[in-house]
Symmetry: C2
Subunit: 242 residues, 2 copies
């Protein structure tokens, strides 16, 4: 009955329903208007995401989502030859995988709003500190992700969005506009602090508002309680529930 907004991505999407998360903020803002569903898969890259596509978004479904956000790249951009190598996907393949995901979603419903989100920037120092806090002397000696490489993936994501005419959030660039972004927005050099979550939420609001899916403008599913006449409640429900 209600429109669905599906958040498809890796751990940054999976964690978006933690307290203060950007998914939670979206769900709250669309309360009584749309359902926000998380399809976040920690550790996943776009290559692995392809295996899920037909299961999460079956072709021919009568209930395709109104909007889907695609937020991968942080794991694809893990460096080959470093500790997270198994998650690495070459950037050309990353871009083609994103294209396949978009193509599939548009096949599900050509009216679907598909939004691409780039990976966030990487604070290499933060990654190293985080590894040392977990593994001490056994921690990696070189970061498994670099900001420069993440930027290449981000650029490819933006290029694809422009090519396909899709709305996008260039999180990699947006976050780096702020002084001290490394600790302000990232808590382990990669995942988001509450302020980092706020940035994603604000950017998502900007995109949804521009696309005509603003939370303010969507109708309530049922009357606000102040519109219900205590003595004749049926009247308020007549239109929406007849």
């Amino acid at each position: 009955m209600r429109p669905q907004i599906v958040l498809f991505g890796d751990s940054i999407t999976e964690q978006s329903f933690r307290s203060g998360g950007w998914g939670t903020a979206l769900a709250d803002s669309y309360s009584r208007k749309a359902d926000v569903l998380v399809r976040g898969y920690g550790g996943y890259n776009t290559r692995w995401a392809l295996f899920l596509l037909h299961h999460l978004f079956p072709l021919g479904s009568a209930n395709s989502p109104a909007a889907v956000t695609i937020f991968f790249g942080a794991n694809d951009a893990a460096l080959s030859g470093r500790t997270s190598e198994r998650q690495h996907v070459p950037v050309e393949e990353y871009k083609e995988n994103l294209r396949k995901i978009v193509h599939h979603l548009k096949q599900c419903s050509s009216a679907m709003l598909v939004v691409l989100i780039t990976p966030p920037p990487i604070d290499e120092g933060g990654r190293m500190e985080y590894a040392r806090s977990l593994y001490g002397d056994k921690a990696m000696k070189e970061p498994e992700r670099t900001n420069e490489v993440a930027g290449v993936y981000a650029k490819n994501c933006v290029d694809l969005a422009k090519e396909l005419g899709l709305p996008f959030v260039d999180l990699w660039s947006k976050m780096q506009e702020a002084e001290g972004w490394q600790k302000k927005f990232l808590n382990d050099g990669l995942h988001l602090t509450p302020e980092g979550n706020s940035i994603v939420f604000q950017e998502m609001q900007r995109v949804f508002n521009k696309a005509g899916l603003s939370a303010e403008e969507l109708p309530y599913d049922f009357p606000h309680h102040s519109e219900i006449d205590g003595k004749n409640p049926r009247k308020a429900f007549r239109i929406q529930c007849s």
Copy 2:
């Protein structure tokens, strides 16, 4: 595909997806296992909730929720003859309305886990302070809800749960076990603080665990990333995605 847990209730359910809310905490704990959907209607009593029942939970749907929480009573228990009179529903009718809601849900699916939640206790002083903060000298001179009356509604809710053999959360009693519950759990004498939200979340976990719907025991929808062989990813997906 995934089981759904639907939270049906008034403002205390509607607000459960705010940061730190009990709905958010549930959604996060069921991440990759079940979808938690909010159907919270601020200001609604059970009489008005009945108008929504067939729309929110259509009979004959192939996708009935696995579990539904029913969390009304705070508005039904607004006192007749006071400022929130239009929301008042006599306690006998409140109980019968709850019975109708349960009956309808069980008709949707006899396997559905239906959980009744009583209204929280009322901090009458907190309600008066809140009204004064909004309306100053024009605020109500007597509270529009009392803890004693909320307790009568809570008791009827618990009695019905016992009669029907349903799991329940007696929030009215549970919260009052703690010293200083008035400010600890309630922020305006009625709605929940983060600690109040935690209590509801813990109680929901207790009920779901006992009913065999614990988040820990439900299977992941797809393999954990650590189970995916970087060189042969298809293998990990073969069983769940064939």
